[in-house]
């Protein structure tokens, strides 16, 4: 009886360890799949950025490039880090603080024409605020010059 109990307890411990191990494996897989790297427009244009994965791209919205379709929600604009420009498309409603000259971060994929198709556009809710990645990207582009 006591042997039985001990083996049951052992079984429980083994099950817990296996459960946690399984959760870790699945977790790491999900983590790997959903990890998104950030790239600057320079990195997109020089080919550093992958064109198969979902990535994040950030920069300033170039003044005078925002084009809105009148019959749909499609918006096109250019994004720059001061050195390079990436064309971006987004279909949907932009955040309140989206405007020309503003720093934004977009999430999406590059299509075969090297246009970045965003499925989410983020602008920070403080007009003096610059997303840190964008600030770094601008600075890096500045130093390259």
């Amino acid at each position: 009886m006591s042997m039985n109990k001990r083996s049951k307890r052992k079984l429980l411990v083994i099950m817990v360890v296996m459960g946690v191990a399984l959760a870790t494996v699945l977790g790491l897989t999900a983590f790997e799949e959903n990890m998104m790297y950030f790239y600057s427009p320079t990195e997109v244009n020089n080919g550093t950025a992958p064109d198969t994965r979902t990535i994040r791209v950030g920069g300033l919205v170039v003044e005078g490039t925002v084009e809105r379709a009148t019959e749909s929600l499609l918006v096109k604009f250019d994004l720059t880090d001061g050195a390079e420009v990436v064309k971006l498309e987004y279909s949907g409603i932009l955040p309140d603080l989206f405007r020309e000259g503003q720093g934004i971060v977009a999430m999406g994929k590059l299509n075969d024409k090297r246009v970045f198709v965003a499925n989410e556009v983020l602008a920070k809710h403080d007009e003096n605020y610059m997303p840190p990645e964008v600030a770094d990207a601008l600075e890096a582009a500045e130093q390259e010059k």
Partner: protein, 639 residues
């Protein structure tokens, strides 16, 4: 003059906190009654002075004293009184002051309600809390002085971030802080017990109600934040796995593990050192949350411009607190012996598994939140972790947790018979599983296993919980409030699971372009866009849309979403104000996008089935926690 009084009061509070943190500790070590007796009056004095400081800052907001830099940045002449008062904690400096005030309130509450405690233990608890206060005062005085003057004073101030001008958000930070800081009590008890070398079940009994209260505040605070984000951000979501949300969720998960582990320690004398470790961990998570939110290392809606010295300060503080308490734990916990014995099939085991699962969940959130920060800090790259990671992880850990939630409360302490449990739960299990799996088919004619499992889980929790209530009523004449609290909290969990499952499967979100007079059908509801007119608020102007919603031709709701522009020093700040028609079955939600062409607008239209169950579930958990601490046995023990 008054801001200087505030600053002066803050400095005095800092001094008192040092005394409160050092003298009683030395006294307890030397068994010096005079030094020990200093703890309580010090706690009171600290509360007095930090309150004066807090009142001084509030006064500066109310009377528009723009010579105070913080006020001039976060308030202006047209800001309504309510948002001038809540503006105090609207940004960094003031929210740190609020944190210190709340910590002092908790400290004083311990001083009042724990009169039955042995004097030395009490002195140590108050001293540990005093030391935490010291850290926060030093942080404010050296890096974030809320009373800093600006010369010359501007004629008008900037505005409070319009996001924060909402009643839901006004109360979100104080509730959250009550929770965060409340875990400092359990932490202080744990450290005091380790210092004194006496870790018995009494320790658990003393810290349990405090932990439950803190947990209730935290639950409520998080729910309030989620509800606010849903109504205010105009994205229609209720949880975004934003790092700041995660920062509040990690202490919640550990806190939940802690209240369950405390139950085992108090009732059965088991898991003593584990519980102590959890108490340390829960507060460490609160501090980590503060670090994440306040250091400016984050990319998030909540992250405002900050200066790096603050991050460094908090990081060092974090290392000191967590490092020293863990070192103390490693040194002292070896002597702790758990007295209770239990077999593998018992409620103790169930509660242990609960802890394992909750900590696995915490680890998942921790990795997803901290990994990007570490990678960035090391300069390897800039990454972020997408929502699907967190969703997958939680779907994964919630299944065993839900299963356990039905079994655990039905089990007896110490040892139970597996046959008995299987006999009493098998029918419920089979019934909730089959009904749950069938439900998606009933709803829309399509089988959906994941949804079915979610709904089955909700039913399983609800029915087993009600069964244990029924069983208790049948077998016992007394129905203690603590038991009712547990029942209510678990029912809240069932509602939460049901709500989340329904929203995730059946929600409909659509960004559409509509001309006035045009309609759009979403999930059987017809949204008709009537038009837009201008509306003026106290400190904003708005374009207000009007939509009529019809169900089978019958009008059931009018929605008036707004696009506001808040006035401030610079250009007006835009802000979306969604309009929601809520009932228990579904929410109909509309938010304004932007004007397209002459008359057309882009609009977000959402259909969210049973989303209110999510927050209602959290409310049940909160009330459950409050009921549990109202139990007679705590009141008797404390007075």
């Amino acid at each position: 003059m008054i801001p200087e009084i505030g600053l002066f009061a803050l400095i005095i509070a800092f001094g008192i906190a040092i005394v409160q943190g050092v003298v009683p500790l030395v006294g307890a070590a030397r068994n010096d009654a005079t030094m020990i007796s200093l703890a309580r009056p010090a706690a009171w004095a600290q509360l007095l002075f930090v309150s004066i400081a807090y009142a001084a800052l509030t006064h500066a907001f109310v009377v528009h004293d723009f010579s105070v830099l913080y006020v001039s940045r976060h308030s202006n002449l047209v800001q309504p009184l309510m948002y001038r008062i809540s503006g105090v904690w609207g940004s960094h400096e003031g929210s740190m002051l609020l944190w210190a005030l709340i910590l002092s309130i908790w400290t004083t509450a311990v001083a009042i309600y724990s009169r039955g405690l042995p004097a030395a233990l009490m002195a140590r608890v108050l001293a540990v809390m005093g030391l935490i206060s010291v850290g926060f005062y030093a942080f404010m005085l050296w890096t974030s002085n809320p009373f800093e003057r600006i010369f010359p004073a501007p004629a008008d101030g900037n505005a409070l971030n319009p996001l924060l001008q909402d009643p839901g958000l006004a109360f979100h930070p104080p509730m959250l802080y009550m929770g965060y800081v409340g875990f400092s009590v359990a932490f202080a008890f744990a450290v005091a017990a380790l210092l004194g070398g006496k870790l018995d079940a009494t320790w658990a009994r003393w810290s349990r109600p405090w932990t439950t209260v803190a947990w209730s505040f935290l639950t409520f605070g998080i729910a309030l934040g989620s509800w606010w984000a849903y109504n205010e951000l105009g994205w229609g979501g209720w949880w975004f796995w934003d790092p700041v949300e995660n920062a509040s969720f990690m202490p919640w998960l550990v806190g939940t593990a802690l209240i369950h582990s405390l139950a085992s320690t108090e009732k059965r004398g088991v898991f003593k050192s584990w519980t102590v470790l959890l108490a340390i961990l829960a507060f460490s998570m609160s501090l980590l949350g503060t670090f994440i939110v306040r250091s400016g290392v984050l990319v998030s809606v909540h992250a405002f411009a900050t200066d790096p010295s603050r991050g460094v300060f908090i990081l060092i503080f974090l290392c000191i607190v967590i490092g020293s308490s863990l070192a103390l734990y490693a040194w002292r916990s070896g002597s702790v012996v758990s007295t209770g014995r239990f077999t593998w099939f018992s409620r103790e085991t169930a509660l242990l598994l609960n802890n394992v699962i909750l900590l696995t969940a915490t680890t998942a959130v921790f990795v997803g939140t901290m990994y990007p920060l570490v990678v960035d800090a090391l300069g390897i790259g800039k990454i972020s972790v997408g929502r699907p990671y967190f969703d997958t992880m939680f779907a994964l850990v919630s299944m065993p947790l839900i299963l356990l939630l039905g079994i655990g409360p039905a089990m007896r302490w110490k040892s139970d018979n597996s046959q008995r449990i299987i006999k009493s739960l098998a029918i419920i299990f089979a019934a909730s599983l089959s009904v749950g799996i069938m439900l998606p088919f009933v709803i829309d004619g399509v089988f959906n296993i994941a949804t079915g499992l979610g709904l089955a889980g909700a039913l399983w929790i609800a029915i087993t919980t009600l069964q244990s209530l029924y069983h208790r009523i049948k077998t016992s004449s007394r129905l203690p409030l603590s038991f009712l609290g547990m029942i209510l909290a678990h029912l809240g969990m069932a509602m939460f699971v049901a709500g989340v499952t329904m929203v995730m499967t059946y929600h409909q979100e659509k960004d559409v372009r509509l001309e006035p007079g045009a309609t759009y059908e979403l999930s059987g509801y017809e949204f008709k866009f009537i038009g837009v007119k201008n509306v003026d608020g106290p400190n904003y102007t708005a374009q207000e849309g009007h939509l009529e919603v019809r169900d089978q031709g019958e009008k059931i709701a009018d929605l008036y979403p707004q696009k506001r522009a808040y006035s401030g020093m610079g250009s007006p700040m835009p802000m979306t104000e969604a309009s929601v028609d809520t009932n228990m079955v579904r929410d109909l939600y509309a938010a304004m996008g932007e004007q397209l062409g002459d008359t057309a607008w882009s609009l977000r239209l959402y259909y969210k089935p049973m989303i209110s169950w999510i927050w209602l579930g959290c409310l049940f958990m909160t009330v459950g926690g409050v009921l549990a601490v109202s139990d007679r046995r705590y009141r008797q023990k404390r007075s």
